[in-house]
Structure formats: C-alpha cells, structure tokens
C-alpha cells in the first residue's frame, strides 16, 4: 500500500523552480492521491465499476430480457443458451439477476449516501447551533426514531410502482439516518470546543463553512463506516421489504425478490440462488473496501504501514 503512494508523492513533491507556481497541496488532492494509492481502494473501486458495467451493459449481450419466458426450459441448469440457467417460470437467470442488480445497486448506494449525508447535516447543524435549531432538529430526529419504519414503508408500497424508484430510495434513507445523526450531534458538540474550531471562528470563517471544512472532515471516519454499513442495510431492507411483497413490485425484480424466490429452490437448483447471492456478497465487499480505503485516505494518522 505504501510503494505506489510514495511514487506518486515523489512525482509531486519536487518544487522545481521555473515550473510555474507549484500546485497547492490542498486536502482534496492529498486525499484523492492517497485513496488511489491504496491497493484495496483501487481494487474496490474497480470491482464496483465492473459491477455497474455488468448491470447496465450486461443485458445487451444476452438475447433474453428479464420479462421473457422460455417455455422450452423450466428450471434448467446453466447452458450455452441460458448462461446462468433458468427459473421455474422459464425466465433467464442471467437477465433477471442483472435487472435485479440494477435496482439493488442504485437503491443500496443511493439510499446509503442520502441517509449518511442527512445524518451528517442534521447532526452537525444540531450540534453546532445550540438553541432553537438544535431543539427542532433533535425533535424531528426523535420523532422519526419512534415511527415504525417498516410499517410505513409497507403502507406506502403501492406508490412504488414503475418509475418511482427515486421515491423508494428517499423513503428508505429517511428511516436509516437517525441514530448516526445523534452520534454526529454529540461529537460535534465536543468538537466545537476544540481550539482549531475556535481559531477558525476568530478568523472570521462563517459557521456553515466551519461545519463543512472542519466538523464534517473530522467525523469522516464515522461517516464513511456508517455509509458502508448503510449500503448493506439499505439492500437488506429493500430485500426484506420485497420478500414480504412490498418494495419492488413484479414484474420488476430486485436482489430481494430473487433471493426470496431462489432460496426455495436453492437446494435442488442452486443456480437460482447462488448467482444472486454471490453478486450481493461481491457488491457489499467492494463497497467495504472502498469505504476502508477512503477512511484511511482521510485519516492522516493511518499513513504509517502497520
């Protein structure tokens, strides 16, 4: 993990006079360099990109679409015709898996990002601005905590028809952020007393800028870990909602519906289950790798190889 990083560093450091003003080594550049320099981060990112390519470009390679039924092949193992085999209904496993992956990747990643961003913003603002802002935001957080998320999602499920996946993502995110936001709030309160925040205040930096420049980066470890966990949580929530027949509605599919169906036939027709499950595991793993590498890139203390 160290070698490529040092090479990059060497390229950048020599301030050769006459080469024009040196590029300012700001935090953004250093973090990007360190992230790309770490092997696991690059690997995780590559895997994620491959997954996205597979999900969106993969269906073009196969003659089957996820709505097609092959009435000549029910529950057949993988073959040249059906690469991943077929389901009981005659649907092509390759086609439906990729279709499900499209939905799950978008839902999982977006819901995680939205919920972590929401948690960070609400928590940081509540912690930084005492008084009515804090009270209002804390009240909203508490209110959402006591609402039965699963029930509300279930009741709203008829709304999530074709084309409203964005609303579904928002609703998922809306019920994921509260606990993190409370942690962020208390950490912000203690951060606010630190001298570097005071220094920024006395310098004349605006409070909102302080939150984005000083508070949130110092909570980045927490937020990144939270976001990676939320990816899995969002995919699993979507999965369990779909399992119970809410969430993504047929004929559309998601990892959740596929795993729910596949688990019934997994024992005697493993291809109906293992391809989906395998892709889910790889996705979550890649997200975790990226998260770890990002956290290390943000955290200046983790430079030294252990």
């Amino acid at each position: 993990m160290t070698l490529p990083e040092e090479e990059v560093a060497e390229e950048l450091t020599p301030g050769v006079p006459g080469r024009g003003p040196r590029r300012a080594p700001s935090r953004g550049r250093v973090v990007v360099r360190r992230f790309l320099g770490s092997r696991q981060g690059a690997a995780g990112l590559a895997v994620l990109v491959v997954m996205f390519l597979l999900a969106f470009a993969g269906p073009l390679l196969s003659p089957w679409s996820y709505t097609d039924r092959d009435f000549t092949a029910f529950l057949q193992p993988p073959s040249a015709d059906h690469w991943f085999g077929t389901l009981q209904t005659g649907a092509d496993v390759y086609a439906v898996t990729l279709r499900g992956m499209q939905k799950s990747l978008i839902v999982g990643l977006l819901a995680a990002l939205v919920s972590t961003a929401l948690a960070a913003l609400v928590g940081a603002f509540a912690g930084y601005f005492p008084g009515w802002a804090d009270r209002t935001l804390t009240w909203v957080t508490d209110l959402l905590l006591v609402l039965p998320a699963f029930l509300i999602l279930a009741i709203m499920s008829p709304v999530f028809g074709e084309g409203t996946w964005a609303l579904f993502v928002l609703m998922l995110a809306l019920f994921l952020w509260m606990v993190t936001s409370k942690i962020v709030r208390s950490m912000t309160v203690s951060l606010k007393r630190r001298e570097f925040i005071q220094a920024a205040r006395f310098m004349g930096v605006r409070p909102v800028t302080i939150i984005f420049r000083h508070v949130l980066p110092n909570l980045s470890s927490l937020l990144i870990v939270d976001a990676t966990l939320n990816v899995s949580a969002a995919i699993l929530t979507e999965t369990s909602l779909s399992y119970f027949g809410f969430g993504i509605q047929p004929p559309d599919v998601s990892f959740g519906t596929l795993i729910a169906d596949g688990s019934k036939t997994a024992v005697y027709a493993p291809w109906t289950f293992w391809f989906v499950a395998g892709l889910l595991v790889v996705t979550v793993l890649a997200v975790n790798l990226v998260g770890d590498a990002l956290r290390d890139a943000f955290d200046p203390t983790s430079t030294r190889p252990r």
Binding site: A24, P25, R27, M203, P300
Partner: protein, 724 residues
C-alpha cells in the same frame, strides 16, 4: 517583612554513608526501541538527586524501572540495588514488600493518583496499614499527623474529605504524606509540581524539603524544570535520548557544564532575573526519536561543537572533575573555552552583561515612562486595543430539567488595560485568575457584559458584520496547544491558507510558501499533516496561520507553555523577531513569568478576575509593589543554585479562593502576607472594606500601578542586582 520564609541551608551530604540506591547500567527497551540506555547513578541517604531532561528523554521510564512498575512488555537490563538488594528481576511479591515501605513515589497528576471514592485520610491510613501492624484507629491518627506534617490546615477535618474536595496543591501534599507514611529510605518524585501553579509549587517544594529533613530519605526528583532542581537537588543527572549525558553536583552542572547539551539547556531557559534584551539561545533541531537514533553521539546533529569524530561512536561518560561526568568527546574544549572566557559564575556573567542591559532597560523604561498614561503629553503610538472595566460572569446552574441559578462565578471583575502599536502586553496570573476569559471576551468581538472593548478604535458593542470581519483580519490568535489548534484533518497548506481564503484570496500557494519560510519552516512541508511535525514546528505553523493576513494585533494564549525548554526558546525568539520586523502588537497571555519578562514591554498581573499590578516589565520585575506580584516573583525558581539557596521566598498560604465567592474588600487579603503580618488592626479595616483600584505607585508616579492600599516597592527576584 519575613512571612513564612525558610532560608535554604546548603546541604552537603556526607559521602561516607553507603548508597541507598545503586543503579548500574540500567537499560529498558520496548520491543526493539530502547527507551533508556546505560543509566548509572547512586543516591545516598538524605541526598536529593535531580534527574533533568526533556520529554521523551527516558526520565519517567527510569523511575518506573526502579519501582518495578513497567509493563511486562518492557525488557529491563542492568542492575538496581536498594540497600544492596537487587530489584531487577525480583518477584512481584518481594517488590510489593519494598514499594511503599522502603521506597515510594509521588506522581505528576495528583488527581488521578488518589482514588476518588475513598476519603483522603483512609487512603493514607491504608498506606500505613499495608506495611505496619497497627489498628485502624492508630493508622488514622498517624494519617492525621502526616497531613499536619505536610501543612494541611485542620488535618483532622480534612482527613475526612474526599480527593475532589482538595485543591491540586493539597492533593499533591496528600500524595507526599502517603509517600512518607512508612518512613521510606527513597522517595521518587516524578514531576511533582509540573501541574501546579508557581505559588503552590513553592509550597509543595517546601513540603518536600521538610519531608526530607523529617525522614532523612533520599529523594530522586524528576523534572524538566531546571529551576526546581537548582534549589532542591544536591546532585544532578541530565538525560538526553534515554541516556545520562552529564552527572555532577548541582554547582558543577550549572556553573561548569561540560556537555554542550547542558550548556544549551541552561542558555535557552528564559529567566525571570534577566531582561528581554538578552536573546535566548535555542538548541537547533529537535530531540531524536528513540527508534531512529543517529550513529555516534545522539546530540551531534544539534550540537554547536559538532566535529566529524562525534558521529563515529557514542561517547562514554568522561570524568571531567571529581564526581563530575560528561558524555562529550570535546569536554576539554568546552572547559578550555570557558577558561578563556570570563569565568562563568553567575554574578560575574551578569556583571559583564550588566552595563549594556541596564542601559537598554533604562532607555526603554524612560521611553515608556514618558509615553504611558493617556494623559501624558507624548503619545507612544495609537492604542490598538483598549479594555475598560470589562466584566464577565458565568451563572452557576443546578438542576437537570429546570435550571436555577445558585451562584455566579465572577471570572473577570472589571479590568482595564491598553495596548499601543508595536507594544507587547503580558497578561499573567495563576490558573483561574480570569486571563483566558479576558482573552476570549476580546476575541469574540461582541458586546461585553459590562465595560468596553475598543479594538483599533472601534467599540465592539457597535460593530456591524462587515466591520467585525475587517477587525478579524487585523487581529489574529495563536493558541496554547499547537496540536489542538490545528485541524488534524487538514494539510499544513490548507491550515495556513484558511485565513487567506476566508478573506477572499484565491491563489494561496505562493503566500503559504512565503509564510512557512518566514516562520522557519520549509515550503515543501505544506503538504504534510500537523501531526507529522514536532511540537515547536507545529506552533510555528500556528504562528504562520496567524500572520497570514498581516495582522496588526496578535493575541497569544500561552503559546510556549506546551513546548520543551530547548524548543520554547526558538519560538520566543521567533516571536520577538517577527514583532520587530512586522511591527506587530502582542497580547501575550501566560502563567510563566520568566517567558513574559523576555517578550513583553508591559505586564499586567491578574488575581481573581482583577488586575493586581500593571506596568513596564522592568519596573514590575525589579520592584513589584503589590504583595501578590512579590510573592509570585519570589516563588519562581531560578536555574541558579547559589542564588536559589540564598533567596528568601515569600510563601503564600492556602489556595486561590473560589471566584464564585471572592473575599470582601481586597481580593487578595485572605492570602496576603502583608495583611497578615505587617499591617496593624486599623490598617486592615481598609483592606476588608474597600476594594483597591489600580493606582500609580512610586516616585515620580509613572507607568507602574498596583491595586493595593499599602503598595510598596520591593525587589524580590534577587537581592543586590540592577543597582541603577
């Protein structure tokens, strides 16, 4: 006036007695990293050995190794003999029988060294009962008498108190009482006074001397403060990079140092008895990391006498005189250069410096006297900051749901001062005197609770947002802890560029490089993070950030107190040079009066939220008029053994009263030695009834002002010096 002073007797231990503790070639390593290497010394009964070194030099590890308190991951080699009994490799049971009985330890932080849930008396009694077969009652009686011995008033009542009801100084006394409970032969004190204020430190040091006299125990005094050792120790061991580099009697080490490191340390300490005109000489660079020691002499990279031979092998300890060892191959050169120069005994060095320094001081003093007091004819420059009657209270609240006010903390109770352009005002006082609150009130640029703060001619109560922003540009701050005041998640470039960006500059790269060069760092350092730097370098980054916008007023909150002595000198010199070069004004808040003497033009001494005395540095340090200033100055240990022994110390009794409930009339009267011993009944009435204002003192009435009804100038730093 002679309140509670103890003239120090020059102790000369009889070398005939056998050593209590004999340490031979002690080495400690954690994994592959050596923390302590080749430490050898012996301590005789009643002797005080000072172990001096900067942070990371291995002093505390040595102490822990002697006590057998190292974690099991540490590898200990060599030999430690207590009364001839080998302690290295001894079983824990054996050590337990010795710890507390034959040897005991006083720790730095007295709060964490006492168990919070037991009464102080019970804890001392427990220390007695562990080693002596006595009943509980007898042990408690002994505990009370021990508390009395260490000077805690009403010991029988205080023995029933819990540790949190004790102040820091009282806790440290209780720790000393516990340490001497079983008449040990050896007491190891690990930075016992570092966490305490100077007046309390003076009290605790007196207690230590008394304890030594009572028990006849040998004391190993570990500290980074050369002043503390000068007054207390008989012999000194200087440590550097885990190894002793100079050992000798206190006079040998202070007056005839042979190791360049010791020489450098002594030259780099700011001293309360020497004025600002004398530049400090910092030691270049920073101490090596124990994991990556340089080949040869570990001090070689920083050494002014460095020659090629220094890098070949680590020098052994050479015998440079009777009982005086130094680890330097060039000790003879050092001795010769010293012989060539004026003999460096303190009086004579000063005599040599005297005419020049005094002259300069006089000039400065005259200039100030001419210009001080707003009514004076010749103005000394525009006032950049004026504080008038500033008041700040904090409510004391109780209750979880319905908060009710149960009291008021008067953190700042009406203070006035002015800083003019190009001037440095030192604001000094012990912890809890309100100096940091004052500073924050000024920095907030908001309407104060009462009084006025005028910055660059603008009253902060009537500032619009745009004006406030403009003032923020001209007034910058440097904080105490350089690590805490730099965002750990930002590169140095971003840290230094932040004020530039905030005030609308876009292209920051070039300016940041300039600033880093200005404070003595390299522009290439810009892409590192703050934690990649040493303490002194971090503080330089903090100063670079404060200077980014070319401010006119710099507010410094204890900027050097978190740094080691050798590094501190460099930062002080940097601040002085920047001031001269950029024409800055400083508000310098500190508790260390010696540092203030070096950097400030004028000084204001605070006590319990009020200014006790204010005036030009030379006036205040040479002839303080307020009893508190006198006590404060006399409490500061000088790194000069002969003078330290002959000094008479004004010891203050008790602790700082709570700012929630200050005494009536003069706030200082409860601890005032003058009030207690000099004044008559009739004179005291005024102190109890009327709060004194800061009034000019001296003839002719000049710059100096003291808030005392009976102010009287008195030279307390040193008798017979500065005979103007």
């Amino acid at each position: 006036m002679t309140p509670a002073t103890t003239p120090e007797t020059a102790p000369a231990p009889t070398p005939a007695s056998a050593p209590v503790l004999d340490v031979r070639d002690l080495g400690v390593s954690f994994g592959d990293v050596p923390a302590v290497r080749g430490v050898s010394f012996e301590v005789r009964p009643g002797e005080v050995l000072g172990v001096v070194g900067e942070s990371g030099s291995g002093k505390s590890v040595t102490a822990s190794a002697i006590m057998g308190l190292l974690p099991s991951s540490a590898r200990v080699s060599g030999s430690v003999r207590l009364h001839g009994r080998e302690l290295v490799g001894a079983r824990d049971k054996e050590l337990n029988a010795l710890r507390g009985r034959a040897m005991s330890m006083v720790f730095q932080d007295p709060l964490s060294a006492l168990t919070p849930v037991y009464r102080v008396g019970d804890q001392i009694a427990e220390a007695v009962r562990v080693h002596q077969r006595v009943t509980k009652e007898q042990a408690l009686v002994k505990a009370v008498s021990l508390l009395d011995l260490v000077g805690i008033p009403h010991p029988a009542e205080r023995a029933l108190a819990f540790p949190h009801e004790f102040s820091g100084g009282m806790r440290q006394r209780a720790m000393i009482a516990m340490a001497i409970a079983n008449d040990p032969d050896l007491v190891i004190c690990d930075e016992p006074t570092t966490a305490l204020d100077v007046t309390i430190q003076a009290q605790v040091l007196e207690v230590l001397k008394k304890a030594r006299d009572e028990t006849g125990a040998a004391i190993i005094m570990i500290t980074h403060d050369l002043g503390v050792v000068a007054g207390l120790a008989d012999r000194v061991l200087v440590m550097y990079a885990g190894r002793p580099v100079e050992v000798g009697t206190v006079d040998d080490v202070y007056y005839r140092p042979r190791m360049p490191y010791t020489v450098g340390l002594l030259r780099s300490i700011p001293r309360v008895d020497r004025g600002a005109q004398r530049r400090l000489e910092p030691i270049e660079g920073s101490p090596p990391s124990p994991a990556a020691l340089p080949p040869g002499c570990p001090f070689a990279p920083r050494c002014p006498l460095h020659v090629a031979a220094c890098d070949e092998a680590e020098p052994p300890l050479f015998e440079t005189g009777p009982g005086h060892l130094a680890a330097c191959i060039r000790w003879e050169d050092e001795a010769a250069s010293e012989a060539g120069e004026e003999p460096r005994s303190p009086e004579e060095t000063e005599a040599a410096e005297e005419p020049e320094a005094a002259e300069e001081a006089e000039e400065a003093g005259e200039a100030e006297e001419a210009g001080e007091a707003e009514k004076a004819a010749v103005p000394r420059g525009e006032p950049v900051l004026r504080v008038e009657g500033l008041v700040k209270d904090y409510p004391l609240l109780r209750g979880a749901v319905f908060k009710r006010r149960v009291g008021t903390v008067h953190a700042v109770a009406g203070i006035d001062f002015t800083i003019r352009e190009g001037e440095t005002l030192g604001l000094v006082g012990e912890s809890g005197c309100g100096k940091t609150t004052t500073l924050l009130e000024i920095l907030e640029l908001a309407r104060p609770q009462r009084g006025r703060v005028v910055v660059f001619g603008h009253d902060t109560a009537r500032l619009g947002p745009a004006e406030r922003m403009a003032i923020r540009r001209d007034m910058q701050v440097v904080f105490q802890d350089p690590l805490a005041s730099l965002d750990p998640r930002m590169t140095v470039h971003d840290v230094v560029a932040e004020p530039l960006r905030t005030h609308g500059l876009r292209d920051t790269g070039r300016r940041v490089a300039e600033l880093l060069t200005l404070v003595g760092l390299e522009p290439a350092h810009a892409e590192r993070y703050p934690q990649d730097f040493s303490g002194g370098q971090r503080q330089r980054v903090g100063i670079a950030r404060a200077l980014a916008l070319e401010p006119r007023l710099l507010v410094l909150d204890e900027p050097v107190s978190a740094l080691d002595v050798s590094i501190q000198a460099g930062v002080i010199n940097l601040l002085a040079a920047l001031k001269a070069r950029l024409g800055l004004s400083y508000l310098f808040v500190a508790h260390d009066l010696a540092v203030v003497r070096h950097i400030a033009d004028r000084v204001a001494v605070m006590y319990l939220g009020r200014i006790a005395e204010i005036g030009s540095v030379d006036a205040i340090y040479d002839a303080p008029a307020h009893p508190y200033t006198q006590a404060l100055l006399s409490a500061i240990p000088l790194p000069d053994p002969a003078r330290e022994r002959s000094r008479r110390r004004i010891l203050l009794e008790g602790d700082l009263p709570s700012p929630a409930d200050p005494p009536s009339g003069c706030r200082f009267r409860t601890r005032c030695p003058k009030f207690r011993t000099v004044l008559t009944e009739d004179e005291r009435v005024l102190c109890v009834e009327a709060e004194p204002d800061v009034l000019p003192v001296g003839e002719p009435a000049g710059d100096q002002g003291a808030a005392c009804h009976y102010a009287e100038k008195l030279d307390v730093v040193q008798p017979r010096r500065n005979s103007r």
